[in-house]
Symmetry: C2
Subunit: 190 residues, 2 copies
């Protein structure tokens, strides 16, 4: 089981980490011992959406082909507004076509949509971006999580925690979800 | 208003970002226009607590004196177990003594404690570390947030979101908290 976790400039960090934390506990809590992931970007250094004082991170790889993964995760943030029209970035996301699961939170849905992964599907995004998503999918729903089987989209920012736990449950069952949520001290549920 | 946000090797990323996201919205949502922060570490590159595949970040400064800040924030993670006994790190945290607010989540409380900031105070930490905290404070409480006025500690990992919103409310009021929580799509409350 391998996950490709995408990061990019002007990403909202909590979009990413709220999903990353529960998902990577599949490995650190030995629930799926062979679970692996790589944090990948289109640039060698990523700064988030909080301006010059924002967080700076270093991805594991740049524009590496995404063909060998089971799950693609795309967070949101202001950077999505231009990236959805960036041919190189969108073509790169398309290399993840073989991945069984495509997952986004917040405006990451615009990027899944630009790559064609939302064609004929229902999806959601941050409440402020619902209109922007219409061009990329069959129907936009104002819900916390829209699970279309292998394409799963979440609402804004902090939804990333609920979405991460939802995917933990899809991959490893309700008991695993409960164990991960307890270790995270996360008592909430949509 | 200036905040020093501490990061270190083997930190739990969600401990940090769950607080960072609501706090920095004080600036990005123009609630406290002159709000500033720096992300500071004892090392020039930080990797989180998920092993070699974990997130790598670059802090804004290394061992910079912490004397000019109003708020000190310390996240937790496995790294705290050794850092609480690391003289250089603890002495560095002590340079934040003038800061009005000292805030931690999860096992970051062990570091606030090692620096002496929990002396005579009640505090909390991750449920799995309650016993470890006893040496560093007056009384350990198994609660989500313990607010002792200017020293505020939170329980594990995802408590960082509740704690961040709590501090937003302390600094800017209940209306600001509600606006930030809405923008984060975070409907929950302890």
């Amino acid at each position: 089981m391998r996950a490709a976790l995408i990061v990019f400039d002007k990403m909202t960090y909590l979009d990413f980490v709220g999903f990353y934390d529960p998902l990577t506990r599949l490995k650190s809590m030995n629930i799926i011992p062979d679970f692996e992931w790589r944090i990948l970007s289109n640039t060698p250094r990523v700064t988030d959406d909080r301006g010059a004082a924002g967080m700076k991170m270093v991805p594991d790889g740049v524009l590496e082909p995404l063909g060998g993964y089971d799950l693609l995760y795309v967070p949101g943030g202001h950077g999505t507004r231009t990236l959805q029209h960036d041919r190189e970035f969108v073509e790169w996301l398309r290399t993840a076509a073989p991945a069984k699961f495509k997952v986004s939170v917040c405006t990451g849905a615009l990027l899944l949509g630009a790559a064609g992964y939302l064609n004929g599907r229902r999806a959601t995004t941050h409440p402020a971006a619902l209109k922007d998503l219409e061009r990329w999918c069959e129907a936009v729903l104002n819900e916390r999580i829209v699970d279309e089987g292998n394409v799963i989209t979440g609402s804004g920012v902090a939804t990333s925690l609920d979405l991460g736990l939802h995917v933990v449950e899809r991959l490893a069952g309700a008991d695993a979800r409960a164990r991960v949520a307890a270790q995270m001290c996360y008592p909430y549920r949509p």
